[in-house]
């Protein structure tokens, strides 16, 4: 792919009409009148015509195409019993539909189609990359936004709320980016690292402070970043019968708090499991989206922890950047079809980091636990595999004394993710595809304690 901007029919004329202004990121949003190309003579003061958008100096024409759309979620029934569906459509300046996964730059019109047609919400909120871009009180649900000129993926989300402020439905759509420099990074190996002193995160370290050993060989640190690095998280909550009696409610409250702590560009999804997958939200930075469908969730059934962890890992694999699973469970698997040793292999390949908030059980090591699927030895082995997988991934195990600690422990995980370092290096030697590399990271300063993944699978 050449990577240069391609002209879009009609774009030049639009560009000529705009005042001179440049934006690097997504920004200003403007509600669009009902017919995007036929502006009404009079508009409310807060509504600006499409043509009044700030001028984007870089060519808008590079863009984008067709659409996509929707992730219908939660879909509570309407009064008539018909589910509510939102469909999100992006159009470029020329009015062409932009498909999901295609790159977007500059002004983009977001349209949210509603089914059943004519349905009115209390309000409809639109987000770009987790930041609220606008609120529409009444149909038509259209908004003009400026996505800027950075070659980056963008996530568009729409959340419909009822009159009482309850989230009713949501849709999301993700744009792509121009694939120009991806090849450069293929061999680059990333490493996410937590540095602690006296149990507290340490800031201000640079690449010169770290030494990375791949198979015992010192590597040159290529990059070292820190600060608010965005991440994608899968919150994996056990909703089996062992979570009855208020435990699930407390876990969900913790998940809400975690979602509320997400920063712009962070994304999370919620996965509830028992002996089956009970609920799955899309990746989102909007807490209300995570909460869709939670009402009425009750604990019950068996436990397929291993299978659910595998699913969470696979759901994260396609996400860019840091990927994290936060598992809330007592760690006792009963009905999974996948043994934890197989899941651990998948985890190694994915480089997903797992944090395990471990709920108390009467028999933590499984020494006296018998189920139809496993005897005590089987349960002990599975628990040990899970423990090893978590630590190998660079995550940690947080033992909870009481379920009420979930919220504070999840806040601790979120804070830790905010203070991590992202290191990268070019491995100096290849062991062959699919081979495991042992990694070791050290830091200057004896009192520093580091936690990072203990290896990676060569791709």
């Amino acid at each position: 792919m050449t990577g240069g901007p391609r002209p879009v029919p009609g774009a030049a004329a639009t560009r000529r009409r705009r005042p001179s202004a440049s934006r690097d990121g997504p920004g200003l949003a403007t509600p669009v009148p009902p017919a995007p190309r036929a502006l009404p003579a009079r508009m409310a003061p807060s509504v600006r015509p499409f043509s009044a958008l700030p001028y984007t100096r870089l060519p808008v024409t590079t863009f984008l195409l067709a659409l996509l759309a929707l992730l219908p979620l939660g879909v509570p029934p309407t009064g008539a019993g018909e589910p509510v569906r939102l469909t999100m459509i992006l159009r470029d300046e020329a009015g062409a539909v932009v498909g999901a996964g295609r790159p977007v730059f500059g002004p983009v019109e977001i349209e949210v189609a509603v089914q059943p047609a004519g349905l009115r919400f209390g309000r409809l909120e639109l987000y770009i990359d987790g930041r609220r871009a606008g609120v529409l009180e009444a149909p038509p649900y259209r908004l003009l936004v400026d996505t800027g000129q950075r070659n980056a993926e963008h996530r568009f989300e729409a959340v419909a709320f009822g009159g009482a402020g309850e989230a009713l439905a949501a849709a999301s759509l993700r744009s792509g980016r121009v694939e120009a420099d991806l090849d450069v990074e293929v061999r680059l190996q990333h490493l996410y690292l937590t540095a602690l002193r006296g149990g507290l995160p340490v800031a201000g370290l640079g690449s010169e402070d770290f030494s990375i050993y791949d198979q015992g060989v010192l590597q040159r640190v290529a990059t070292c970043d820190s600060g608010d690095l965005p991440f994608s998280a899968a919150l994996l909550l056990d909703a089996s019968a062992s979570m009855e009696g208020g435990r699930l409610r407390a876990a969900l409250a913790g998940a809400r708090a975690f979602a509320a702590a997400l920063q712009r560009l962070d994304e999370a999804k919620l996965l509830l499991f028992s002996d089956r997958l009970r609920l799955e939200s899309p990746f989102t930075a909007v807490p209300a989206v995570l909460e869709l469908g939670l009402q009425g969730v009750v604990a019950g059934g068996g436990t397929m922890l291993n299978d659910a962890l595998y699913l969470a890992i696979k759901r994260l694999e396609s996400r860019p950047g840091r990927r994290v699973v936060v598992l809330l469970s007592d760690g006792v698997d009963v009905e999974s079809v996948l043994p934890m040793s197989w899941v651990r292999q998948a985890l190694r390949a994915s480089q997903v980091v797992v944090y395990w908030l471990r709920l108390p059980t009467g028999d933590p090591e499984g020494a006296r636990r018998f189920t139809v699927w496993r005897n005590a030895e089987g349960h002990r082995r599975e628990a040990e595999e899970l423990r090893a997988a978590v630590l190998e991934s660079g995550g940690r195990i947080e033992q909870l004394g009481r379920i009420e600690q979930v919220e504070s422990k999840l806040a601790g995980v979120a804070a830790e993710l905010r203070s991590q370092y992202a290191l990268s290096f070019y491995p100096s030697a290849s062991l062959g595809h699919g081979r495991w590399h042992d990694l070791r990271v050290t830091a200057r300063g004896r009192d520093l304690r580091l936690r990072a993944q203990s290896g990676y699978l060569e791709r």
Binding site: L272, R276, L277, L279, M304, D307, K314, E335, V337, T371
Partner: protein, 851 residues
């Protein structure tokens, strides 16, 4: 004594509930050792638990009044006669006793719970506890130490779901040297205050002497009414009702819109020093924390005869400023009121939402029924509505008032235990009556009716129950344990017959020598219950049997082995007439087991379980029918299911299913259940043996073959396992097929045969596209084969399941529901066929007995 126990305290204490429950099992089931040692808080009586010796208590926070017992010394005594102290927690044993809900023990006590409408989530419940002094002295032993006698009093309030809503623990310290005369006459009385959410609850009160480990336990059911609509906010806001009361019921103003409701009748009990002055022989030793709020005051009984105003007069509407004041000479309500035949009695009745002031629009009456029996002939007793007043401030709520009611028990009424219920009829003109609610009934209250000749010096139940006219009954036997169930238990006990046996000293050892009359009465009651079974009233019969047995065990009249012996003796006479009659009787005990387990009555459930096993043996042995052993096997299969649900695999579950398999070696359900039980216990060879036996008789059993294959894998016999799995996958449908494909996949992935695994999994998913486990496995195989995009596509199709959808692997862990359902159907039909045989056998036994 009065103290508030709120949610924080419950939370703090609830950390020990799991430990307590484990201990309970250990304490009540023979052969299971207690392993837990800790409970929250300091144990009552300090470290003396193991030896039973009392130990130092925390410093006494308050003294208690003991007006009647204090000797007229010239100088004040160094210690009060009676002290009440709070305790930091409960012993394991006490907690276990409270959780068990089994009434009884050597210390006789009566408990009254007076619930008031809940507001801001919780309602106040006043609890009156009256401890019989003589039984307390007897329980303390013949020669108690010279140190003060320490008596623990613990309260547990459990919700309808069995959740601990409130609890409390106190210690009463009694200077026996000075209190003995008063204790001999009456006893000790306490007032406790709990806060409970609206709804049904079970209050359990335990009195325990740490020194001798003697106890008394009473259970009182109660219902905390919800606050009237519109009242909750006012009450939550702390409005004490000083203003609100003036605007409601008693003063005739508009009341909240809740339906009218009557609460618990309150009779006077003699506690105050003023009362003690006038009736010194009838006064409790009252233990109260200093500064504690008093319980609800009740006018003394004599005010009914003289001072009580006529209906609807000025006393119904107190003067301004005195709206919340109780009449100046009120007493605390009696836990177990004593009424005298032929003498008018006054009581107060808390009522909510009554429509008008004075006596206009309403009529009152009283119903008395022998404990557990029907209303007396002639129906309700006429009652006079003397007046209406708002309750004092701690109990006040919008629309809530106290009705003063007087009535006279008939002079011909036999002495004994009764249940009293107040009835208020709304005249047709009132709004509530127009809305269809014409008659209101109060909670049922146990009362004791004594002959008037007992006189003024015997006003309290400890005095009355020792009188010859009542045959020396205990408070529990007389119904004083509370209301409802307790009263019925008492009625079912032969104790209630005035058989002239010696008065109880609260000593269980003495009560073991149950008189022949008791046994005869019990056998008659037992035969009547079997008669109910024969008449098709099985549900009522098993409840009645539970109550009958509970009453006997509670009073120590029989222990478990003697109870079983007595019952088996009766059953044998039935079986001698018709062995088939054993089947409905056996099922009766199976039902009793399930019910007792659910109610956590472990003594009863142990007894019922052993009876079920024993009767199954007897039936299999005695019946001449060719299919008798098969039917006995069916009964054991079903009973094993109940045992598994209650206690999991192993133990008695295994015992039941092994018997079933022995009696019906060709039966599919028994062998399947036996195999599942063995799998659950990790005994894979045992499972394999049962499954091979099953498949030799039922080769078509898909579940049996699937389990066989799974266990073959576990035992390393992979090749045979794979053949069996392929066979199941080919012929079975539903979850067995799904699990067969999954296990084939696992077997092949584990062996590195990814292509073969993929083939099986693809085929499985084609047939069972909603099976998540197959999708997970297939994704993993595709990933390992380097086809990540296909793997992602497989997982992308996964959708969250509805709550009622169970995974195929979860169904594998379940008992074979369709087979067990079929077994239950067969049992039901077999019982119905045999009811006439039971009826005939009982009738024949009756005739033989009468000859």
């Amino acid at each position: 004594m009065s103290r508030k126990i709120d949610a924080r305290e419950v939370r703090r204490r609830s950390r020990g509930v799991a430990v307590r429950l484990r201990c309970l099992v250990g304490a009540l089931l023979p052969g299971i050792a207690l392993t837990a040692v800790g409970v929250l808080g300091a144990p009552l009586g300090g470290a003396g638990g193991a030896s039973g010796e009392p130990s130092a208590l925390p410093a006494a926070p308050a003294d208690a009044a003991a007006p009647a017992a204090a000797p007229p010394a010239a100088s004040p005594p160094e210690r009060p006669v009676l002290r009440l102290m709070r305790s930091g927690g409960l012993r394991v044993e006490s907690a276990a006793l409270l959780m068990s809900g089994q009434q009884g023990g050597a210390i006789d006590l009566a408990v009254l719970a007076v619930p008031w409408p809940a507001a801001a989530g919780k309602g106040r419940v006043d609890v009156m506890v009256e401890i019989d002094g003589r039984s307390l002295l007897a329980a303390a032993g013949p020669d108690p130490a010279p140190a003060p006698l320490r008596c623990e009093v613990a309260f547990y309030a459990l919700s309808g779901q069995g959740i601990l809503d409130a609890s409390g623990a106190d210690v009463v310290e009694i200077d026996l040297a000075r209190a003995r005369p008063a204790l001999e006459r009456t006893g000790v009385r306490l007032h406790e205050e709990l806060r409970l959410p609206a709804g049904e609850a079970s209050l359990r009160v335990l009195v325990r002497l740490p020194a001798t480990r003697q106890v008394g336990l009473r259970v009182v059911p109660l219902m905390v009414p919800p606050a009237p609509s519109g009242a909750a906010a006012a009450m939550a806001g702390g409005a004490g009702l000083a203003g609100a009361a003036g605007a409601t019921g008693a003063s005739g103003g508009p009341v909240a819109e809740a339906p009218p409701r009557l609460l618990t009748p309150l009779f006077a009990g003699a506690t105050s020093s003023a009362a003690a002055d006038s009736r010194p022989a009838a006064t409790w030793l009252e233990a109260r924390l200093e500064g504690a709020e008093p319980g609800p005051g009740v006018p003394p009984p004599e005010s009914a005869a003289g001072a009580a105003p006529p209906q609807g007069t000025a006393k119904a509407t107190p003067p301004q400023g005195a709206a919340n004041a109780a009449p100046p000479d009120t007493e605390q309500p009696a836990a177990f009121p004593v009424l005298f035949a032929g003498r008018e009695t006054l009581f107060e009745l808390p009522a909510a939402g009554l429509p008008s002031s004075g006596s206009e629009g309403i009529e009152a009456s009283v119903e008395l029924r022998p404990a557990g029996g029907a209303v007396l002939p002639g129906g309700g007793l006429a009652a006079r509505l003397l007046g209406r007043r708002p309750p004092p401030s701690p109990h006040a709520a919008p629309g809530l008032e106290l009705l003063a009611i007087a009535f006279t028990p008939p002079g011909t009424l036999a002495a004994g235990a009764y249940e009293l219920q107040a009835v208020v009829r709304l005249l047709p003109a009132t709004p509530a009556a127009r809305a269809g609610q014409r008659e209101l009934r109060s909670s049922s209250l146990p009362v004791l009716v004594a002959a008037a000749m007992l006189g003024e010096n015997a006003l309290l139940w400890p005095q009355v129950v020792r009188a010859p006219a009542l045959g020396g009954m205990t408070a529990a036997a007389a119904g004083g344990a509370g209301s409802g169930t307790a009263g019925k238990e008492a009625a079912a006990t032969p104790d209630t017959a005035a058989d002239g046996s010696e008065p109880s000293e609260g000593n269980e050892g003495k009560q073991d020598a149950a008189p022949r009359t008791r046994l005869a009465g019990f056998q008659a009651a037992y035969r009547a219950i079997l008669g109910d079974v024969a008449a098709g009233r099985e549900s009522a019969a098993h409840l009645a049997l539970g109550e009958l047995e509970a009453a006997l065990l509670r009073d120590g009249a029989l222990d478990l082995s003697r109870l079983a012996a007595v019952e088996i003796r009766t059953i044998r006479t039935v079986a001698a007439q018709a062995p088939e009659a054993l089947v409905p009787v056996l099922h009766l005990y199976a039902l009793l087991y399930a019910e007792s387990r659910r109610a956590a009555r472990y003594q009863l459930s142990t007894h019922a379980r052993e009876m079920t096993f024993g009767l199954a043996d007897l039936y299999a042995r005695e019946s001449a029918l060719p299919a008798a052993r098969q039917l006995a096997a069916r009964l054991m299969i079903s009973f094993g299911g109940e045992l598994a649900a209650a206690g999991g695999p192993g133990g008695f579950t295994t015992k039941a299913w092994r018997r079933a398999a022995a009696w019906d070696p060709d039966g599919e359900p028994a062998l399947l259940c036996l195999a599942l039980d063995a799998e659950w216990r990790g005994e894979y060879r045992q499972a394999l043996a049962a499954l091979r036996q099953l498949l030799s008789r039922h080769p078509e059993s898909a579940e049996g073959r699937l389990r066989l294959a799974v266990n073959l894998v576990r035992l390393g016999q992979q090749e045979e396992a794979e053949r069996e799995l392929e066979r199941v996958a080919r012929v079975a449908a539903g979850w067995p097929a799904a699990v067969a494909y999954q296990e084939l996949g696992r077997l092949r992935i584990g062996g590195g045969r990814l292509a073969a695994a993929e083939q099986a999994l693809q085929e499985g998913l084609r047939r069972l596209p909603d099976d998540e486990s197959l999708a997970f496995e297939l994704a993993l195989v595709l990933e390992r084969r380097g086809r990540s995009a296909e793997a992602a596509a497989v997982l992308a199709r996964l959708r969250a399941a509805a709550p009622e959808e169970e995974s195929s692997r979860h169904l594998y862990t379940r008992l074979p529901a369709p087979l067990l359902g079929r077994v239950d159907g067969e049992i039901k039909a077999a019982i119905a066929e045999r009811l006439p045989a039971l009826a005939a056998a009982l009738a024949a036994g009756q005739q033989a007995g009468s000859r």
